[in-house]
């Protein structure tokens, strides 16, 4: 939260430092740690499970190192003034995620499941694709303001991606939530992860144009600025879309994420607190309304309020029309059994969670094996990424960049909160993945792209202003003679 520092002497960094150092070497040093730490963790898992250093250690270390190196070189070349922390943070999280996914691959219990596939090699491939996308973003997106041109195309694209899982034959219903699509030969894809970025672009472009109308044309009522009826249109449309996602895809997390992102961006664009109040009211009404008739959501809420009862219903195989899951309780036990310092990597029993142990529930494995200390560290790493994102928004010189950066970081923060809060029983569980750490191609690739865009915005923001090229007027006066 250092970005919120209100001391006037600290404002220089937010105004765009002229002639600021590029900090590329800092990034390189941090990246070395971000590669070495997961390599040690990987060796640790192998020693704990098989009493030997895992044979893949070298290739894994080289793989992760290569990804980090390619990312770093691309940044050095194409975005030299980009934020130096984001790439190392994302690499570290990605690397630790790979280690834990590999660790869960070694579980006999999960191997016995008929849906078992070795996830770690795939995740490494996805990570490579993600970094490739990051590089592509840095190369081809010379200036983030270009995206502004694609405001409405982004909207169409986002809507298309969101509707895709509902198309018969393409969508896949996995344990109640319909947020996946099947790609023959490749597996499943969560289009929502990509829609998140497209929507951020759309909101930023749209709000930049409309912000004055939304902010100024309003009436004051009880201390709140009430927007005009027709200005309510956009927020209503987004709200309705979120509700539709909730109803048809039964996914509370995605719904909450999109609506939350919009409200954050709307608030930043208009500087009107009333939008926050409206947003909160509308999301409460929407969530409660849908929960009143959607059994899948009701089950999730019940599992949140009383995970023990849900566990027992699941154990007793009660058949009352809804799927009861013991996972919420199993996740809590995993956290509790980890305690302060954890059991050590490879020595816990988080595989008891079963299905989705390496994706939606991966934080529980961190909790059990690295303990309170490890989870707090992971949460702080996420906090740092968000902080760098917000700082980028503060530093950005154009409103579109500000809005896009805050939208992406806000969505990132909300996603971490919704997933981690769900797994830890703070809020009802939703089917979303922890960025970079959880197993899942869409999530990893989309989040690397997100980091790419943030790097681009921060590069633009921190890039020194071009040196004043003399005074053209002075020369002109010299040319013109009487």
């Amino acid at each position: 939260m250092s970005g919120t520092n209100t001391s006037p002497t600290h404002h220089t960094s937010t105004i765009g430092a002229i002639g600021a150092p590029s900090r590329r070497n800092t990034e390189l040093a941090l990246l070395a740690f971000a590669v070495v730490i997961p390599v040690f963790a990987y060796a640790n898992v192998g020693l704990a499970i098989n009493d030997s250093v895992p044979p893949g250690l070298l290739s894994y270390g080289l793989g992760l190192g290569l990804l980090a190196g390619v990312g770093h070189l691309a940044v050095r070349k194409f975005a030299p003034y980009a934020d130096p922390l984001m790439l190392p943070l994302a690499t570290l999280l990605n690397g630790l995620g790979l280690v834990v996914i590999w660790r869960l691959d070694q579980s006999k219990k999960l191997q016995a499941s008929n849906t078992f596939v070795e996830a770690a090699p795939r995740q490494l491939l996805y990570s490579a694709m993600g970094v490739a996308l990051l590089v592509a973003v840095l190369i081809f997106l010379k200036d983030h303001r270009v995206l502004q041109r694609y405001t409405y195309i982004s909207m169409a694209g986002a809507l298309f991606l969101l509707v895709l899982p509902l198309v018969p034959g393409v969508g896949a219903d996995i344990y109640g939530a319909k947020i996946w699509i099947k790609i023959p030969g490749l597996g499943t894809l969560q289009p929502g992860e990509f829609a998140k970025i497209a929507l951020a672009v759309f909101f930023a472009g749209y709000l930049m144009v409309k912000r004055d109308a939304l902010a100024l044309a309003s009436r004051r009522f009880m201390g709140l600025y009430l927007p005009r009826g027709r200005d309510l249109g956009p927020i209503l449309v987004v709200w309705v879309i979120s509700i539709l996602i909730l109803v048809f895809e039964t996914d509370l997390g995605t719904s909450l994420l999109f609506f939350g992102m919009f409200v954050i961006m709307l608030y930043v664009a208009t500087e009107r607190t009333s939008w926050i109040v409206f947003g909160l009211l509308m999301s409460a009404v929407g969530a409660v309304g849908v929960a009143s008739f959607e059994p899948h959501i009701q089950t999730r809420v019940q599992a949140w309020l009383d995970p023990m009862r849900e566990y027992q219903l699941s154990r007793a195989a009660v058949n009352d029309g809804v799927v009861h899951s013991e996972q919420a309780m199993q996740a809590l036990w995993a956290f509790g059994s980890g305690g302060t310092l954890g059991t050590g990597l490879g020595q816990g029993n988080s595989d008891l969670i079963g299905f989705a142990a390496n994706s939606d529930f991966i934080l529980a494995t961190f909790g059990e094996e690295l303990g309170l200390a490890g989870v707090m560290a992971i949460l702080l790493l996420y906090g740092l990424i968000v902080e760098r994102g917000v700082r980028t928004a503060l530093a950005a010189r154009d409103p579109f960049g500000k809005l896009l950066a805050i939208g992406l970081s806000g969505a990132f923060a909300l996603q971490v909160f919704v997933v981690a809060g769900g797994v830890m029983g703070l809020i009802p569980l939703t089917g979303m993945t922890l960025p970079f750490v959880a197993y899942g191609g869409s999530s990893v690739i989309a989040n690397w792209a997100l980091i790419g865009i943030l790097l681009r915005i921060s590069d633009t923001a921190r890039r020194p202003a071009p040196a004043p090229a003399g005074n053209p007027d002075a020369e002109m006066t010299q040319v013109v003679r009487p």
Binding site: G339, T340, L352, L403, M424, G425
Partner: protein, 492 residues
């Protein structure tokens, strides 16, 4: 736009803070509760992760561990002579949890007890696998065998408890019918679950998994007259066992028109305490109870351990002697009828206190907890629970109980060359005594130096026996004799 941006930054910070607080809540504040939750499979996984320590009787383990495959439980519990020792060990089943010693001393047996922390840390540093410690019991294998075989030969349901009066050590703890805890120690859904189901009370009317020695209370019948006699001596109502008592026969209970009957034609009119105990006169002891009153009787019963659960450390049910009774109810209670009910352990405690010159020792079955390399972690010392009667009165009561065996109803318990004191009991139960009575026998044996190495209580509920055959002297006394003999022999 920077002001709202800063506020959003604060908001994101709050989200992370909320997650951090929640994480501290579940991984620190609630961690132990979650970690040790019975439903948490990790508890069981850990319990069977390494070979479990053993429960030891007389230097020999009565349990074992065997490696299994195909499950996340690495080792499985095994038992030697399972049915005989089940009332002592309880069970430790991968599928059905653990009870009794297996549950109470789980920390030592798995090696997770805090007292083993230092050793475990050392082991971790030296790369040794963690191993469980041993639980050394006070039991006597020969006595247990005599008790279990006696019950088995009898065929009916029943229980035996033997104590060492001077220390309170439990020497035998048998219940019949019993079960083999090995039969469901694993977690196979076929064999183990089937064996478990067969043993459940709803599928098996004999309820073999009930530990009758500690968890079942029976009306103690005439064996309770020992307590009544103790109360009479302590109160000073009668001071000499050979003094005539003021006992009409027939005796009409105070406040009623009901005559309290005696069993058969026995010389109970104004009988001395010695004669009354020898023939088991209901009239004499009923009247003593009535004369002393509810409070004094309850007081004495409590001193012997009634109305309180005993922890050996396995819990024994509280035995019952009622409060707020009128004179006739007190009279009936004082001959072990009405609401009076006792566990076999409780009646063994009565015999033990008398034999130990009036001092009641706390009964216990865990002598020592040992770490792997036979280091003692904890040694239990004998502990005095109460002194229900003075040593002088205890000796008077001993001489009366010895007469019972010498010339009275308990003659089946005689052991050549050994002084034995005892008391029979035949308790009625059921509506209008419609069901078969319980046969009781409590006794102790004395060495030549006057100290008593063993006190026993035997109870038999025999649905199949002919009603007249059931008398403590006939069914229960021979088992008590065998147990006492086994203890005396093992001492030599």
């Amino acid at each position: 736009m920077n002001k709202p941006l800063r506020r959003i930054a604060v908001f994101c910070g709050l989200l992370v803070l909320a997650l951090l607080i929640r994480d501290n809540w579940i991984q620190y504040v609630k961690a132990d509760e979650l970690r040790t939750n019975k439903e948490n499979r990790r508890v069981t996984i850990e319990r069977y992760a390494s070979p479990r320590g053993d429960i030891i009787v007389g230097g020999q383990p009565i349990t074992g561990s065997t490696e299994t495959s195909g499950s996340d439980f690495k080792f499985k519990r095994t038992y030697k002579d399972g049915p005989m020792w089940a009332p002592v060990t309880g069970y430790a089943s991968q599928a059905f949890g653990a009870t009794q010693l297996e549950s109470i001393e789980d920390g030592i047996l798995t090696g997770n007890d805090d007292r083993l922390f230092f050793r475990n840390t050392l082991d971790m540093l030296t790369g040794k696998k963690q191993e469980g410690g041993n639980v050394v019991t006070t039991l006597n294998a020969a006595a247990q065998k005599a008790a279990y075989n006696g019950l088995k030969k009898q065929g009916g349901k029943g229980a035996v408890v033997a104590l060492e009066p001077s220390t309170g050590k439990i020497l035998a703890l048998a219940s019949y019918p019993s079960y083999d805890p090995s039969s469901f120690a694993g977690n196979s859904t076929t064999t183990d679950t089937e064996a478990w189901q067969k043993l459940q009370k709803k599928n098996n009317p004999d309820d073999p998994m009930l530990n009758r020695a500690l968890r079942e209370t029976y009306p103690p019948g005439s064996t309770f007259k020992v307590v009544t006699a103790a109360a009479a001596l302590e109160d000073g109502l009668y001071t000499d066992p050979n003094e005539k008592t003021d006992s009409p026969d027939p005796w009409v209970m105070e406040g009623t028109n009901t005559k309290l009957p005696n069993e058969g034609n026995i010389p109970c009119k104004n009988a001395t305490l010695r004669v009354a105990l020898q023939y088991s006169c209901n009239t004499v002891f009923g009247k003593i109870g009535s004369d002393l009153g509810n409070d004094k009787m309850l007081d004495m019963a409590k001193k012997f351990g009634f109305t309180e659960e005993q922890f050996t450390p396995v819990r024994a049910n509280a035995s019952v002697f009622s409060d707020n009774m009128n004179a006739s109810q007190t009279a009936l209670s004082s001959i072990g009828q009405f609401n009076t009910a006792a566990t076999p352990l409780q009646m063994a405690m009565v015999a033990s206190a008398v034999a130990n010159d009036g001092k009641l020792m706390k009964p216990y079955m865990v002598d020592e907890l040992q770490a792997r390399s036979v280091d003692t972690l904890e040694k239990n010392d004998p502990e005095e629970l109460s002194q229900p009667l003075s040593s002088e009165n205890a000796q008077k009561l001993q001489s009366m109980m010895e007469t019972v065996v010498e010339k009275g109803t308990g003659s089946n318990a005689k052991i050549p060359g050994v002084t034995v004191g005892g008391k029979t009991g035949t308790a009625q139960h059921g509506v209008d005594n419609s069901e078969n009575p319980y046969a009781w026998f409590i006794s102790y044996a004395k060495d030549s130096d006057g100290s008593a190495p063993v006190a026993v209580a035997v109870v038999i509920e025999d649905d199949n026996a002919v009603r007249d055959d059931i008398s403590g002297g006939g069914l229960a006394a021979p088992i008590a004799r065998n147990v006492m003999e086994a203890v005396i022999k093992s001492k030599q």
